[in-house]
């Protein structure tokens, strides 16, 4: 109150006060947290006890994984797109028989399994980052992360199961 009255008479009363306007070099009152989600997620609570549990340095390994899997995925994903959409007759030659022929080769089986796992983990970690950036409430973040984890494990289990138990003589 006294701080805002002590400010310049030129700007007073021109518009509504927003505490975030005064975080400038001019000084002024410190911004006041209005909601728990106004606090930047990157700013840890200084007096909070250290959270035990979890993998130490998880974020560092996640960061490294994004780069290492990214290098591999450049070849796996672009190669997959090239073979499936451009080589020979492109997507118009793909049917059950094509898949059966393709997965007789351990090379393509390995390629596809590796692509599935790396892409899913790489993309899942990317989505985790996006969720962390844009969710404001802890509950929203929790439920979106739960949904993400469920969809990731579902996709990985289903995809691996289909690849490894594929039967060309089905039905």
């Amino acid at each position: 109150m006294s701080a805002s009255e002590g400010r310049s008479e030129a700007t007073r009363g021109v518009r509504a006060e927003n505490p975030y306007d005064h975080v400038s070099e001019r000084g002024g009152p410190a911004p006041v947290l209005q909601r728990n989600y106004d606090r930047p997620a990157a700013l840890d609570n200084p007096r909070a006890p250290r959270r035990g549990g979890g993998m130490p340095n998880f974020e560092k390994y996640a960061w490294l994984f994004m780069r290492m899997s990214g290098v591999v995925l450049v070849f796996l994903a672009l190669g997959h797109l090239f073979v499936m959409l451009m080589w020979q007759n492109g997507v118009y030659r793909i049917d059950f028989n094509y898949v059966a022929e393709r997965w007789r080769s351990p090379f393509w089986q390995t390629w596809d399994l590796l692509l599935l796992w790396l892409a899913q983990l790489h993309g899942g970690n990317g989505m985790r980052t996006i969720i962390a950036d844009y969710t404001r409430k802890d509950s929203t973040k929790f439920w979106l992360n739960t949904l993400l984890a469920l969809s990731m494990s579902f996709t990985l289990v289903l995809g691996s199961y289909v690849l490894m138990t594929f039967d060309a003589n089905i039905s």
Binding site: G6, R7, S8, E9, A10, T11, V14, D21, H22, S24, R26, R67, G70, V71, L73, V74, A77, L78, L81, L85, M86, N89, G90, V91, Y92, I94, D95, F96, N97, V99, A100, L116, A119, Q120, G123, G124, G126, M127, I130, S151, T155, L158, G159, Y161, V162, T165, F166, D167, I170, S171
Partner: protein
């Protein structure tokens, strides 16, 4: 000089755009595009694993769903997928170079133009090949 006089000489903080090194810079837009393409690819991957899983159900079920990939509209979406994956891959290499190459941060903007140049060249080639397949199929 009173405090009020001093303050009136200084423009109000919100009266002009705040300038930062990052905001509005091409580097920011490359990050935005990286994020959008990445999320798009993630959702496609989910659908794609589901449709491929039908090979475990029956050849008919798989052929039926894969036929939707052979329609003109989904064909255009495939072109979009190539565009998205290609950008994400090239800009990802740029990010890795910025992080691990000592002179990466210095050349980050030049690398962005190179990424866009390579993207346009490869995308036009891919568009030509996919377009030929589509023309053969639909014209």
């Amino acid at each position: 000089m009173t405090q009020a006089n001093v303050a009136s000489d200084v423009p109000a903080p919100r009266s002009r755009r705040r300038r930062t090194l990052y905001r509005g810079d091409p580097g920011m837009w490359s990050w935005v595009l990286h994020r959008i393409t990445g999320a798009t690819i993630f959702f496609f991957l989910f659908v794609h694993v589901l449709d491929t899983a039908l090979v475990r159900v029956s050849p008919q079920a798989y052929n039926e769903v894969i036929d939707t990939y052979k329609t003109p509209i989904v064909g255009l979406m495939e072109v979009g997928l190539v565009a998205a994956v290609l950008y994400h891959a090239l800009n990802g290499i740029r990010i890795i170079l910025i992080d691990f190459w000592a002179r990466g941060p210095k050349y980050q903007r030049l690398m962005l133009w190179i990424v866009l140049g390579v993207w346009i060249a490869v995308f036009i080639a891919a568009l030509g090949v996919i377009g030929m397949h589509m023309a053969e199929q639909f014209l």
